[in-house]
């Protein structure tokens, strides 16, 4: 049974290998039209060039998407089979020696129990839908084969990550996930912002990774083993040194902070939106960013042994949740709004972890994955159709794209925490748990909930309701914005149904069927929570939606850059249209709030702060070292030595005849002397 687990990450990995080899093969054999890994047959060569793309390249481009869908689907099926076996009472685990170098024995352990099974379903399920959506979204992209290879690599790495049962495998998968995230963010690497965003994401998360690595080193040093069960036994056991008890979980949490974009390492996530939108949905909303939360939940025994560490975790989570929710209010890029929303929701989960209710955090992770993926894919559908992603240039799309609008609404309601959508159940779980003993966290998260409801409603009202805005895509191509293809809206529909349904699965008043069936620990205090928390939370959510409706839907006016009401040039008979411009309420808000608004709008200037205080000094010191120390001091020493040698060699060079045999004779004579000495010494 355990051997089956290897197949789960291996199938997408095999697809990745096939695509890479296939692409490389076509490039090597010089298939015409196979520029890059594979080139776009139609657009790149152009109709006038007289060459037709290689049919093999075209076939590979078509096959790539479906192949990777099939790979992830197979992994998901295997995962479900394994999960059923686990529920049947079997121990689904694999533990073997990966390799043995001298005395070091590196294990390779995989395990699937309740938590991992849940993650496999989330990762596999969302992956399948996102791969499917990508088939439509990436159609015609130049590097589509490379894209699917990278996406499959990511799925494989993420599945390996959630199945890992020792820190070696975990760290391996952790870094693989980071690399594939980097590759995918920089997928449009010819765009400077995309390349920079990938680099930023990689370097920022690396700060956290160093912490994780140090934590792993500490564990090796302390326990001589990196298998989870040994480490957990150590953590709960007696007689552990006090400082390490706190330091190890905090170091591990650093890794989680990087991956899960918690303050202050969250700055990479909004920039990561430079990647293709399905990537944002899969990696930067549903799965990879949840890896940090999963990591903490998986290694929770280590955290449970250190209440001090848990407090730190809780504060970071709550602060992140509140901070990101406020920033979300002001963003003008759809994906940026959703990015900050993701950071905020991750903050909710981390707060729950810190408050000692990992089950609630994992449940929120589970529901969040579905509805946030839904929101991102909806945004992707809009961007794909309209060709723009700034709210200024979008509006009234609800009539044109009814399916997208409806599904997006489902996701938005879920995010706002309105029953019966998934987000309500998990958020209420967290808030209820906080009500017993963590009033500060509760207050912060309630405020964040209100802001959340407001910004997501704003997004929905501006983009889908109100008068239509003349989009750039329309004016350029004369083609009206239309609903996306079935391959794109089908995943949306599936995700929307999931969003409506999965919450009930883990709902408290139904007796936690999900948690029960997977054997997740309830993990602590006052699950369910007092009724007033639920009432207040829902009321705040509704209030946020209503205020947003008043602010954006009742007065859907736009303010153009010049400050006047933007007027449309709609032909007679068509519904009223307006030109592009900011939503009027945003402009008024900025006028009345002034610098406060700009502070929030710029993400509290954290990026600039880091740039000034960390990056700039670092670059400066490096530059100083390069110019002053390296060029003068080091090079001076090196040149000086070289000069000395040149001088000395002038005297000795007469010994060098250049005759090889003279040298050999000298060596042989030396051997003779040494051998004589050795023999004499041994006698």
């Amino acid at each position: 049974m355990g051997g089956l687990l290897v197949a789960i990450p291996l199938t997408p990995l095999a697809v990745c290998a096939v695509l890479l080899v296939g692409g490389a093969y076509l490039r090597l054999t010089g298939a015409p039209g196979a520029r890059g890994v594979a080139a776009d047959v139609g657009t790149e060569i152009g109709p006038g060039a007289g060459t037709i793309g290689d049919p093999r390249a075209a076939a590979l481009r078509v096959a790539a998407g479906w192949l990777s869908v099939a790979g992830v689907l197979a992994a998901l099926v295997v995962g479900v089979v394994a999960l059923l076996a686990f529920r049947g009472g079997a121990e689904v685990a694999l533990s073997t020696t990966w390799f043995r170098v001298g005395y070091l024995e590196v294990p390779f352990s995989l395990r699937l129990d309740g938590l991992q099974g849940l993650m496999v379903i989330v990762v596999g399920g969302v992956s399948v839908l996102v791969h499917l959506f990508s088939v439509g979204y990436m159609h015609g992209d130049r590097d589509v084969v490379l894209y699917f290879a990278e996406l499959s690599l990511f799925s494989a790495a993420m599945l390996l990550l959630v199945l890992a049962d020792d820190f070696y495998v975990l760290y391996l998968a952790w870094e693989l996930v980071g690399v594939s995230s980097y590759l995918l963010i920089s997928h449009y690497f010819e765009r400077p912002q995309a390349a920079a965003a990938g680099k930023k994401a990689f370097l920022t998360t690396r700060i956290g990774d160093v912490g994780l690595l140090l934590g792993i080193f500490a564990l090796v040093w302390l326990t001589d083993s990196l298998e989870f069960h040994t480490v957990f036994a150590w953590a709960s056991g007696p007689g552990l040194p006090g400082a390490w008890r706190v330091a190890v979980p905090l170091l591990i949490f650093m890794g989680a902070m990087g991956k899960s974009a918690q303050l202050p390492l969250h700055v990479w996530l909004p920039d990561a939106m430079e990647g293709p939108t399905p990537v944002s949905a899969l990696i930067h909303a549903a799965t990879m960013v949840a890896a940090g939360v999963y990591l903490v939940a998986r290694t929770y025994p280590i955290f449970a042994a250190a209440p001090e560490a848990l407090t730190v975790v809780g504060w970071i989570g709550a602060l992140t949740a509140l901070m990101a929710a406020t920033v979300g209010l002001t963003q003008r890029d759809i994906k940026k709004v959703l990015a900050y929303s993701t950071i905020s929701q991750l903050g909710f989960m981390v707060t729950a972890l810190g408050a000692g209710v990992p089950a609630a955090a994992v449940f929120h992770l589970f529901t969040h994955a579905w509805f946030k993926a839904l929101l991102f894919l909806g945004a992707g559908s809009v961007i794909h159709a309209a060709g723009r992603q700034v709210v200024d240039e979008l509006g009234g799309l609800g009539r044109r794209m009814p399916i997208t609008a409806l599904t997006f609404a489902a996701g938005a309601l879920s995010l706002a925490g309105i029953p019966p959508f998934a987000g309500f159940w998990s958020k209420e779980e967290i808030l209820g748990a906080l009500a017993g003993g963590h009033p500060a966290f509760l207050a912060m998260l309630l405020a964040a909930s209100f802001f959340t409801a407001f910004y997501v409603s704003r997004l929905f009202f501006v983009v889908f309701l109100g008068p239509e805005v003349e989009t750039a895509a329309e004016t350029e191509t004369e083609a009206p914005v239309r609903e996306s293809r079935a391959v794109m809206w089908l995943p949306l529909a599936v995700l929307a149904s999931a969003t409506a349904a999965v919450g009930l699965w883990g709902a408290g008043f139904l007796g936690y069927p999900l948690q029960e069936s997977l054997g997740l620990e309830e993990g602590g205090t006052s699950v369910g929570g007092p009724v007033w928390v639920t009432v207040v939370a829902v009321a705040l959510g509704l209030a946020g939606i209503s205020l947003a409706w008043l602010a954006y839907a009742r007065h859907p006016a736009r303010v153009s850059a010049a400050g006047e009401d933007a007027a449309g040039s709609a032909p007679a008979g068509a519904p009223a249209r307006v030109g592009p411009g900011r939503p009027a309420f945003d402009a008024r808000l900025e006028d009345s709030l002034g610098w406060t608004y700009r502070l929030v709008d710029n993400g509290y200037y954290l990026d600039a702060l880091f740039g000034r205080c960390l990056v700039a000094p670092f670059v400066g010191v490096a530059g100083f070292l390069a110019r002053a120390i390296d060029a003068n001091l080091i090079d001076g020493i090196v040149n000086g030595i070289a000069w000395l040698v040149t001088g000395a060699a002038g005297g000795v060079r007469r010994l060098q005849s250049g005759q090889v045999r003279d040298y050999v004779a000298a060596v042989a004579a030396g051997v003779f002397v040494v051998a004589a000495l050795v023999i004499e010494a041994l006698r």
Binding site: G2, V6, A7, V21, L94, S95, T96
Partner: protein
């Protein structure tokens, strides 16, 4: 006394192996002529003896009585050494082939590596023959054969390594037990394909026969040879062909394993099928160009065999645990 016996046994086995190779060559030359005739819709030799069965014998007699011609400028030592060094490894290969469980000359603990290593000496002979003939065609043939051999040896070895990993032994006799229920062709089909293709290259047969491509090089490294020395090349070629087929049988087809009939019958039967496949390929496919040949080895077979090896290792690890 036992000293003399042991040494005598070794000598006797050598004579047996050499005789075996001679007999195999005699039979295979006839077989090849008949198979090629069938494929080309001809009849083949029918006149000498019943159904032409004695044709090869007649040819051998002719070859043995022919004059041994040596070109004037040929290097005398190397010219004589070349054919011998080519034929000896083919004979030596037979030492480790288990025709039946007890019917093996020496069950070496490293039999499989031995089998991979010994044919490598053939190349020395071919290079010498080509160089000694003092003839551009021969020289080119010799160089080509060594380049080809070295290139195809790597994927071939890697393919065999998967078998060794699965069997956990380098002993040829242990392989038979390891393949008792299922022969390895079922478990390692990719290795089998790589082994068969690279083996064709190792024994210089079409479609990999550029060292002796008659349309370009007259006859390659044996252009200048005649009579008995030339027949040594023939001996080497067919001896190596049968050894390779026998080894394919051993590695992938379960050797002498099989119901009812004695192991020897199964082994010879299976290996003859492999030999027939080799002949079939030879008379069906055209020849590769020299550059295509190299590209095939380094860009297709080498990566394919590496991927195959890694995948096989992973699968074995997963299944084994």
């Amino acid at each position: 006394m036992s000293t003399v016996l042991t040494l005598g046994e070794g000598f006797g086995l050598g004579v047996v192996a050499f005789t075996l190779v001679g007999a195999i060559t005699t039979v295979f030359v006839l077989l090849e002529r008949r198979v090629s005739a069938r494929i080309q819709m001809r009849v083949g030799p029918t006149r000498t003896g019943p159904h032409g069965l004695l044709q090869t014998i007649a040819d051998i007699v002719k070859l043995l009585v022919k004059e041994d011609v040596r070109p004037e400028y040929a290097d005398p030592v190397a010219f004589r050494l070349g054919p011998m060094l080519t034929a000896v490894p083919a004979v030596l290969s037979f030492v480790v082939i288990p025709f039946g469980a007890p019917l093996v000359m020496r069950a070496l603990n490293v039999g499989i590596v031995y089998f991979l290593a010994v044919p490598g000496m053939t190349v020395v002979g071919l290079l010498l023959a080509g160089w000694a003939s003092y003839d551009n065609y021969s020289f080119l043939g010799g160089l080509r054969s060594s380049a080809q051999f070295i290139s195809y040896e790597i994927p071939r070895t890697l393919a065999v390594v998967t078998v060794v990993m699965l069997a956990g032994s380098l002993n040829t006799v242990d392989l038979l037990d390891a393949q008792k229920p299922v022969p390895y062709i079922v478990l390692l089909p990719v290795s089998f394909v790589i082994y068969m293709a690279t083996t064709l290259a190792e024994v210089n047969r079409i479609p990999f026969d550029i060292p002796e491509a008659e349309s370009e090089l007259v006859a390659g490294y044996h252009t200048e040879y005649s009579g008995f020395r030339w027949s040594l090349f023939f001996l080497a070629e067919y001896g190596a062909l049968y050894a390779a087929a026998a080894f394919a049988t051993l590695l992938f087809l379960g050797g002498g394993n099989g119901p009812v009939l004695p192991a020897v019958v199964w082994f010879v039967g299976k290996s003859l099928v492999v030999v027939f496949v080799f002949m079939w390929v030879r008379w069906t496919l055209p020849r590769f160009r020299a550059d295509q040949l190299m590209r095939l080895a380094w860009k297709v077979f080498l990566p394919a065999s590496l991927v195959n090896l890694v995948l096989a290792a992973f699968v074995m690890m997963a299944v084994g645990s």
